[in-house]
């Protein structure tokens, strides 16, 4: 009977893993779904007199882990709601899981949320491929899949997918807006496009092409990069070589900043359109160098926390107070926190409006029934409006030009309903 220590500890460790897994598999469901008998109150799974259960998936690990801050901020938001007494007296139980931006994992986790955790709805699940993987499932199960965190245009299709709703202005529309602006303002435009080679990049590209319409021949060069590429230097050189005088930059902050700097380094000075995804002063413009970023155009719908012009705005003060109290130590220049706060507010309002009728059907009805709702941190003049046929909550943007160290808004607010 000579068991050495190592084997013993080894067995123990294995037992922990297997045990953890088994516990995870067999733990009792939070299935306290016995409906209250009171007549006015109506509940589906995940809602009781005391609690509303909300599910969420987000990449906290892997290549897309930069988005992890969104999940953490939403969690903090519900904490603040609960400390202030909850929603109509009910506490919000927010279950957030890490899918690592892998669609098969998202399917597994969302099924866990819906079937084991029995959440009332899922909220702000992040990523286009991940949401595509659960799109059908959620609609078959008739579980609200609200305010998903992706700008693809397919989320606002109430006819086929009445249980899914997006949030932000979609990439496609934004691309159309840039194309229209360019045609009106740049003479003899020859366009060079840098695009991330995935569906986010593709959406912008298609939108831009649609906006060009008959002028699609103006695209002189279209290059792509992979997220595993260390730099996009080679791509920028190709764009310059094509003789383009307009640059449409469809890249995430890191690559967008590289592109801006490289263009300046090799002396390429096109009219520069930067996608909203990277329109953060702190995450893109400052690393790229303010001297290289002058005159860049973008479309905005949210306030940028690193933009000095909003520093004194009431919404920003509110947000900063919240951040300091519930997320001390967080990096306040991260636009992800602003996004998370505003989208959580919309969810909060929607659930408030549901009152005591917390059925999935009513949640959808209320989500599709916002009229000119003022959501904090949206640009002045932009509000949320939805209807049973309009599943695009935020659909307005305003163009902005980079000047000095800040974005200067100009022109009207554009309401471009995607059809």
């Amino acid at each position: 009977m000579a068991i050495n220590r190592r084997t013993l500890v080894g067995g123990a460790a294995a037992a922990v893993v297997v045990g953890g897994g088994a516990y995870y598999l067999l733990r009792k469901d939070g299935a306290t779904t016995v409906s209250s008998t009171s007549t006015a109150k109506k509940y589906d799974d995940g809602a009781t007199d005391k609690e509303i259960k909300i599910g969420h998936t987000n990449p906290y690990s892997g290549p897309a882990s930069a988005y992890g801050v969104i999940g953490k901020c939403i969690e903090a938001y519900w904490k603040s709601v609960n400390e202030a007494g909850g929603i109509n007296g009910r506490m919000v139980k927010f279950v957030t899981l890490d899918d690592g931006y892998s669609p098969p994992k998202t399917v597994e986790l969302v099924r866990q949320l819906v079937e084991q955790e029995k959440v009332l709805l899922t909220f702000n699940t992040l990523g286009t491929p991940t949401n595509t993987a659960i799109h059908k499932y959620m609609n078959q199960k008739k579980v609200p899949m609200l305010f998903v965190a992706t700008g693809a245009s397919k989320w606002g299709n109430p006819k086929e997918f009445p249980w899914t709703m997006g949030y932000q202005p979609d990439y496609h529309t934004e691309g159309v807006i840039y194309a229209k602006h360019m045609l009106a303002n740049v003479k003899d435009a020859k366009v060079g496009i840098l695009m991330q080679n995935d569906d986010y990049g593709k959406d912008y590209y298609e939108g831009f092409k649609e906006g060009l319409g008959k002028e699609a021949g103006r695209i002189a060069k279209h290059v792509s990069y992979e997220v595993t590429d260390p730099t996009v230097d080679s791509q920028i050189i190709q764009l310059k070589d094509s003789g383009a005088n307009v640059f449409f930059n469809i890249a995430t902050p890191k690559f967008a900043a590289q592109a801006i700097r490289k263009a300046a380094d090799i002396g390429w000075k096109p009219a520069h359109y930067l996608n909203n995804v990277s329109a953060s002063v702190g995450a893109t413009m400052k690393p790229a160098g303010f001297e290289n970023s002058q005159g860049i155009l973008t479309a905005q719908y949210l306030m940028d926390p690193t933009d000095k012009q909003w520093e004194k705005h009431a919404d920003m003060t509110l947000w900063r107070t919240f951040m300091n109290k519930y997320m001390p130590g967080a990096n306040l220049s991260d636009a992800g926190y602003v996004f998370a706060y505003s989208v959580s507010f919309l969810m909060h309002e929607t659930l408030k409006k549901c009152g005591d009728n917390l059925t999935r059907e009513n949640v959808m009805r209320q989500a599709a029934n916002h009229q000119k709702l003022k959501v904090p941190l949206l640009l002045p003049g932009i509000t949320v409006s939805t209807s049973p046929t309009d599943f695009y909550p935020v659909q307005a943007v305003q163009l902005a030009r980079f000047k000095g160290e800040t974005w200067e808004l100009f022109g009207d607010i554009m309401h471009a309903e995607s059809s």
């Binding site: 009977m1 294995a14 297997v18 690990s61 084991q116 995935d198």
Partner: protein, 332 residues
């Protein structure tokens, strides 16, 4: 590794077959979600078995089995989506396609050993998602958008839920594949495969056609993993290049090593681990945060890393190897 006691094996299979039928009696314990979860474990186990045939039994390292998984999944998806092939028929097709791809890849791989083979397979895992997005293939593969599919329907009006049926579909496939692998390994060819792993030069001098055995093993291994990929396309009902990133291949390798290199039972353990480790890590992360009240944010990914190091430190031969050693010590 000694054979698993026969009666235990039959007992386990009987359990695997009958427990899901208890769903009407115990709907909360045998829920659809859990059956689905076990199905994903089965799929992972098949994929890990494929890798094990190559790495564990033939000694060729691969960091790129995610590529074959992707090829299998896409073969199935394209057949179902474009040609309306029934889902069960996609398995042999995926196997055949992956066998060819694996065999062809095995030819240049003959020249490469150790780290160089690791690089070559690594590159394959990197290349496949990019090829799926390739401009001229977009029409077939759906490009970056991927392909949305339907879940397998229950045939002949058998009174089973969709997930029960999926589970049996996966289970039957797995049993057949493990049975075949077991027979292969206990045959003359299997012994040749292992001889090549252990003493390459000796095997060569004894008259074993090492080149043929190595390339065919590559093909078979790829076919196994490809079948797993085809199953996953049915189970998840969606394929996209993002599902098959580099980390998928790495996770197969982790499953292989943690389960047990060169062990059939190890592949099953590896498959279970592959699925459970994420969930365990998340549960532990929450536990540390909520119940132990640690201020520092210990993320699930950190715990995943610590778990891996701990497991390797304590059981360098994998879980099956560790358990076997422990049992032997206890008996002495």
């Amino acid at each position: 590794m000694p054979a698993f006691p026969k009666q235990w094996l039959w007992g386990l299979i009987a359990l695997a077959v009958f427990v899901p039928l208890l769903q009407p009696v115990l709907p909360d314990v045998v829920s659809n979600y859990r059956l689905f979860l076990v199905s994903t474990m089965i799929i992972a186990a098949i994929a890990v078995l494929g890798l094990n045939l190559l790495t564990g039994f033939n000694g060729q390292i691969s960091l790129g089995h995610g590529a074959f998984y992707a090829v299998g999944a896409y073969t199935a998806a394209v057949l179902m989506d474009k040609l309306n092939v029934p889902y069960w028929l996609t398995l042999p097709c995926a196997a055949a396609v992956c066998f060819m791809v694996g065999y062809l890849f095995g030819l240049p791989a003959l020249k490469l050993e150790g780290h160089y083979l690791a690089l070559a397979t690594f590159s394959l895992a990197l290349a496949v998602p990019q090829i799926l997005k390739y401009k001229w293939l977009e029409k077939v593969t759906g490009g970056v958008q991927g392909i949305v599919l339907n879940k397998p329907e229950v045939p002949f009006g058998i009174p089973l839920t969709e997930d029960q049926w999926l589970y049996y579909y996966c289970l039957i496939t797995m049993l057949a594949l493990f049975w075949a692998a077991n027979n292969l390994l206990n045959s003359r060819s299997g012994r040749a495969m292992m001889a090549i792993r252990d003493y390459h030069i000796a095997a060569d001098t004894m008259g074993i056609d090492t080149a043929l055995y190595k390339t065919v093993t590559f093909g078979i291994s790829a076919a196994y993993t490809g079948i797993a990929g085809a199953l996953s396309a049915s189970a998840i009902a969606f394929v996209a290049p993002d599902s098959f990133n580099l980390f998928l291949s790495i996770k197969f390798l982790i499953g292989l090593v943690v389960g047990g290199v060169g062990s059939l039972a190890g592949s099953v353990v590896g498959g279970i681990f592959y699925v459970l480790v994420d969930n365990s890590a998340q549960a532990l992360s929450l536990f540390v945060k909520n119940d132990l009240g640690l201020q520092f944010d210990l993320s699930a990914y950190t715990i995943f890393g610590i778990l891996l190091i701990l497991l390797m430190y304590l059981m360098p031969m994998g879980i099956v190897g560790g358990v076997y050693l422990a049992v032997r010590r206890l008996r002495q």
